[in-house]
């Protein structure tokens, strides 16, 4: 049976539009060195390295983990490269956790990254061709359907955009630091993909994230509290087919129920103290609250409207500022899981949610068709006993 595993170290870069001071190597190492320091370990303590990133064409290096492997201390060790589109950062953590849970390794380093400034993600998303619509163009119709289905008022998206940017002010690593953000500014920002405004969209960032995942024995020796991984799950479904519900993809529903069941969660809204959800466009916050059955149909936007998802609310979402504040694509999913883990470790600093014991991290990718989710806890016990 699976052995327990825990996140014992987390490091991330200062995310920025361009980290022109660093090579791709330097970017990954900045996060990895910080994760090792947090875990009180050195490169020599690591048994295996798992690397994740979104499409190679974003930086123009085919399988860049081949040249990054020894830069991440992997010489003489196993190295895996994961690629599951936008969810890849989450999948990378999960693949690494499996290496512990299977009993193969004691300490695994997982690194996820993107250096968007080297290339152009919109070009990449368009397959290098003209006429690309960007991720926002792909998701805007789904958002439009959500609004139509739930009769949500238009300001809900603006509220999420403001909340996440205010949260980012408490996170020194966040790319965007928009102290003067306001509903008015979001509403008045250019319409990019109707109904999405510029300020309802994620930035394009350079950044990396890294975590050290350890066995129970190794975690108990860690200098700081571990985040026990109570549950992980991934789900994939085809990009598009007749009858697909792209607003509430079945893969997202199934993935959520899988982690809830593993973790012993019967009432996610009550039993989860904080969630880091992959929200690259504002409306995805209420969409995932409903799509993961944290809120009932049409109730997700009401949670936003009532302030429940604020850092001081009853169900804080993205206290780190989320993808709306930093989007190094390949790393964004890992940041969600690792930020959620840091909350139950009590290590989240100024954006710590008081008393967080159980957290949810989620990443999605592709055409809202790839999901990677994890539940973390400050103890090894299942939620609800």
């Amino acid at each position: 049976m699976a052995q327990p595993s825990a996140i014992i170290g987390f490091g991330q870069t200062k995310h920025a539009k361009a980290r022109a001071d660093l090579s791709m190597i330097g970017l990954c190492r900045e996060a990895a060195v910080r994760a090792l320091e947090d875990a009180g370990l050195t490169w020599q303590d690591i048994d295996a390295v798992v690397i994740g990133k979104a499409p190679d064409a974003f930086e123009g290096v085919m399988q860049p983990e081949l040249f990054l492997a020894d830069a991440l201390g992997a010489a003489g060790k196993p190295m895996l490269r994961v690629h599951t589109a936008g969810s890849v950062g989450g999948s990378t953590v999960i693949v690494a956790s499996h290496l512990i849970e299977s009993g193969i390794h004691e300490r695994v380093l997982a690194v996820a990254w993107e250096k968007q400034s080297e290339g152009n993600a919109q070009w990449g998303l368009a397959g290098g061709r003209s006429g690309g619509i960007g991720a926002g163009g792909a998701f805007a119709p789904y958002i439009r359907s959500y609004i139509e289905r739930t009769k949500a008022p238009d300001y809900i998206g603006w509220q999420v955009a403001v909340k996440d940017r205010l949260n980012a002010l408490k996170n020194p690593y966040a790319h965007l630091q928009l102290a003067d953000i306001s509903i008015e500014k979001v509403k008045e920002s250019p319409m990019l993909w109707d109904p999405l405004h510029f300020l309802e969209s994620c930035p394009s960032s350079d950044g990396a994230a890294a975590v050290v995942i350890a066995s129970e024995a190794a975690a108990k020796k860690a200098p700081r509290p571990p985040a026990w991984i109570l549950a992980t799950a991934v789900r994939s479904e085809p990009s598009t087919f007749p009858g697909r519900d792209a607003v509430r993809p079945q893969g997202g529903v199934d993935c959520a129920h899988d982690v809830y069941k593993q973790a012993g969660i019967t009432n996610p809204r009550e039993q989860i103290d904080v969630a880091e959800l992959y929200v690259p466009f504002s409306w995805y916050e209420p969409m995932w609250l409903e799509g993961h059955d944290i809120a009932g149909p049409g109730e997700g936007w009401q949670m936003v409207d009532h302030g429940d998802t604020e850092i001081t609310g009853s169900f804080p979402v993205n206290p780190s500022g989320g993808v709306l504040s930093s989007n190094p694509i390949g790393a964004s999913g890992m940041l969600r899981l690792a930020e959620a883990a840091n909350q139950v470790r009590g290590q989240a600093g100024a954006h710590q949610v008081d008393g967080a014991k159980v957290s949810l991290g989620q990443a999605y990718g592709g055409n809202a068709q790839y999901f990677a989710m994890a539940v973390f806890s400050s103890t090894l016990d299942r939620v609800g006993g």
Partner: protein, 150 residues
């Protein structure tokens, strides 16, 4: 469609702009001054090309650059009789591993000697510099037999 196939051609093209950081950046900056830099690790080995880390341990290298070469010895080589559009020289040339004087590792580069018969393992070479440096590894246009650079 000569053979009844429906063939489509597409090009994946993008002008990438890379930031090099201090170590690769220091190396290519050195090339502009006709200096080849390595970096020293904890064991005293001089790594060429230099890296921000020790490849065998992952440890950070704090940037003690060491000038090496410019001469060195070919430790392995092959001959490219028909260069592709991606190769740095249009005439036949050698790819070679070159251990520069003072270096502990070998650098991959090209050797321009005109004929395969002039190549051998152990031969001494030195850089021929590009007239207009671009901040790239190819600012060394090619290595040539020692004494032939002028």
């Amino acid at each position: 469609m000569t053979d009844n196939r429906h063939t489509v051609t597409s090009t994946l093209e993008f002008p990438y702009r890379r930031s090099l950081g201090t170590v690769v950046g220091g190396f290519v900056t050195g090339l502009k001054d006709h200096r080849i830099l390595g970096i020293r690790n904890k064991n005293g080995d001089v790594l060429v090309p230099p890296s921000e880390y020790d490849p065998t341990t992952g440890d950070s290298l704090e940037g003690e650059f060491v000038e090496v070469g410019p001469g060195g010895e070919v430790t392995s080589w092959t001959w490219v009789p028909e260069p592709s559009s991606r190769h740095p020289l249009s005439q036949p040339f050698a790819f070679a591993l070159i251990k520069l004087d003072g270096a502990s590792t070998s650098l991959v580069h090209v050797v321009d000697v005109g004929d395969i018969a002039a190549m051998r393992t152990g031969m001494r070479v030195e850089p021929r510099w590009r007239e207009e440096p671009q901040g790239l590894i190819t600012d060394i246009e090619a290595f040539v037999p020692e004494g032939a650079a002028q």
